[in-house]
C-alpha cells in the first residue's frame, strides 16, 4: 500500500509539472481559449473494455476501438438506451459525446459478459 501511494503521488507530481509548463509556454493563453472537447479512448482487447470505467468531464467524447478479431458492440444498459453502436468489426470505432453528468453503464450486446461504465462529472 505504501509503495502504491508513493507511486501515485509521484505520478500526480508529473502531471502537475506538465500543467505548469503548459501554462508558462507562449501557447498557454491560446490553449485556454480553445473549446476543444476532451476525448477519451477506450480500447477493446480480449473481450474486455479498457479501462472498464472511465471518469470524464461533461462534454467529453469517448471513442471505443475494437482491437479484437471478433466483432463487438457498445450498448447502453439504461432504459431508454443512452447510446448504441452498430457492430464494430476489427479496428472500427464508435464515438459518443457525453453532454450530461451521470453514470452510464454499457455492455457488448454480442458478448454480454463485457461490461463497462462511463462516469460523467
Amino acid at each position: 500500500m505504501i509503495k502504491g501511494s508513493s507511486v501515485r503521488s509521484a505520478g500526480l507530481s508529473v502531471v502537475f509539472a506538465m500543467i505548469l509548463l503548459s501554462a508558462g509556454s507562449p501557447n498557454g493563453a491560446a490553449n485556454a481559449q480553445q473549446v476543444v472537447p476532451a476525448t477519451v479512448e477506450v480500447k477493446i482487447d480480449n473481450f474486455s473494455f479498457g479501462p472498464a470505467t472511465v471518469t470524464v468531464a461533461v462534454g467529453t467524447m469517448v471513442t471505443w476501438t475494437n482491437r479484437d478479431d471478433i466483432p463487438h458492440t457498445i450498448v447502453s444498459t439504461d432504459d431508454p438506451k443512452a447510446f448504441k453502436s452498430k457492430v464494430l468489426d476489427t479496428d472500427e470505432k464508435f464515438s459518443y459525446t457525453f453532454a450530461k453528468p451521470g453514470t452510464y453503464p454499457y455492455f457488448c450486446s454480442v458478448h454480454p459478459k463485457m461490461t463497462g461504465t462511463v462516469v460523467v462529472k
Binding site: F47, D69, P71, T73, H111, P112, K113
Partner: protein, 322 residues
C-alpha cells in the same frame, strides 16, 4: 467411456440406468462435423474424417443427420483466411458418407457479420451437400444490428417467435431454439419467457418414450459462464423434458467439442468449420485461436476431439445443469 474405434465413442455408464434403458448416447465429435445415427433408440456419432474406412453397417441406422456449426462466413483473419474453403471441406465429407444423412442441422453463426452476402455464400456452399434439407438456428453473429430480422426473413419460415420451431423425423422430436437475442449486460444466452412457454407446450402431447433432440447455438448447460458459455434459463427449459427417457442437446458457439451426461440428458457441443477457440479459461479471452496454416485442419479437430480433449474439457467445466 469406452473407446471402441478410433473415431467412435460409446458411453458406457456402468452402474447407472442410462445404457440399460437405451437412452440416446453420446457422440464422438471430430473434423468439421459429425454424423449422427439412431440405432434402436441409441444415438451414435462418428467423425467424418474416417467414416470412409468404417464398417457401413455401423453407420446405417433408423435416422442419420449431420450437425455443422459456426461457419462464420466473412471471417478472414488468422487462423483461417478462407472459411469458405473449410466449409466446402465439411460438405465434401458429408458427401463422402456411405449412408447419406437425411438432413443437416446448422447450430448458428452461419455468418460472421450478418451480411447478406455471407448468408448467400453459405447457402450456396451447402447446396453442394447431398442432404438438401438444412435446419438452422441463429448464432449471435447472425442477428447483429437488426435483432434478427434478416435471419427470420431468410430462415424463419414456419417458425415461432424469434425463430424457434420443432419437427419430427422418424419418431424423433427435434426442437430448434433461439438463445442469442435480447442478451442482458453481464448475462448469458437467454431463451425468454415466450420461448419457454412454447417449449412446455410443444412437448406436452409427446409420449415419454419419444427421443428428443434439442439444438441451439449457445450451450444449454453451464460450460464456462465467465466467457458467457451458457444459457440463463436452460435448467427451466430442460425441466420440461424431464419425463423423456432420452434427450440429446446439440450446441455450437464454443468451437470445440464437449460432452456431458446428466440424468436423461446428453449434451454435446460441435466444432466450428471456421476456427478453433481456446478451452475454457485457457486464454485471455474466447477469441479465435491462431494456429499455423498447416495445422488448421487438425485444430479444427479431426483427431483431437474424441478422446483426451473432450474428456478434459468436461472435467474443466464441472458444472451442473442447474
Amino acid at each position: 467411456m469406452r473407446k471402441t474405434r478410433q473415431d467412435e465413442i460409446l458411453h458406457d455408464h456402468n452402474g447407472d440406468e442410462i445404457d440399460r434403458r437405451g437412452f440416446l448416447q453420446c457422440m464422438a465429435w471430430a473434423g468439421t462435423g459429425a454424423l449422427c445415427v439412431m440405432q434402436g433408440g441409441v444415438l451414435k456419432s462418428f467423425s467424418m474424417s474416417r467414416v470412409a474406412k468404417m464398417d457401413a453397417k455401423k453407420m446405417t441406422g433408423e435416422l442419420s443427420f449431420v450437425q455443422i456449426s459456426d461457419s462464420h462466413m466473412g471471417f478472414n483473419k488468422p487462423a483461417n483466411p478462407d472459411v469458405g474453403r473449410t466449409l466446402k471441406a465439411a460438405v465434401d465429407k458429408i458427401n463422402g458418407l456411405i449412408k447419406p444423412p437425411e438432413f443437416l442441422i446448422h447450430t448458428g453463426d452461419i455468418s460472421h457479420l450478418s451480411k447478406p452476402e455471407e448468408f448467400d455464400t453459405v447457402d450456396q456452399i451447402l447446396k453442394g451437400a447431398s442432404a438438401k434439407e438444412v435446419f438452422y438456428v441463429p448464432g449471435e453473429h447472425d442477428v447483429l444490428n437488426d435483432d434478427g430480422k434478416q435471419y427470420l426473413e431468410r430462415y424463419g419460415k414456419g417458425t415461432k417467435g424469434a425463430g424457434w420451431y420443432s419437427f419430427d423425423k422418424k419418431g424423433v422430436h427435434f426442437m430448434g431454439l433461439v438463445n442469442v437475442l435480447n442478451l442482458k449486460a453481464g448475462g448469458l444466452g437467454t431463451l425468454g419467457r415466450e420461448q419457454l412457454e412454447w417449449m412446455e407446450d410443444d412437448v406436452k402431447h409427446l409420449k415419454s418414450s419419444t427421443p428428443i433432440v434439442v439444438f441451439a447455438h449457445i450451450p444449454l448447460w453451464s460450460v464456462y459462464p465467465e466467457w458467457g458459455w451458457g444459457t440463463e434459463e436452460s435448467a427451466q427449459g430442460l425441466a420440461y423434458l424431464k419425463k423423456f427417457g432420452s434427450v440429446t442437446v446439440l450446441n455450437g458457439h464454443i468451437h470445440q467439442t464437449m460432452q456431458k451426461v446428466e440424468g436423461n440428458v446428453t449434451f454435446h457441443t460441435a466444432m466450428s468449420t471456421a476456427f478453433p477457440q481456446p478451452a475454457p479459461g485457457k486464454a485471455a479471452s474466447p477469441g479465435p485461436m491462431k494456429v499455423p496454416a498447416e495445422q488448421l485442419k487438425s485444430v479444427l479437430g479431426i483427431t483431437e476431439v474424441n478422446h483426451v480433449q473432450g474428456q478434459h474439457a468436461l472435467a474443466v467445466v464441472d458444472s451442473t445443469l442447474g
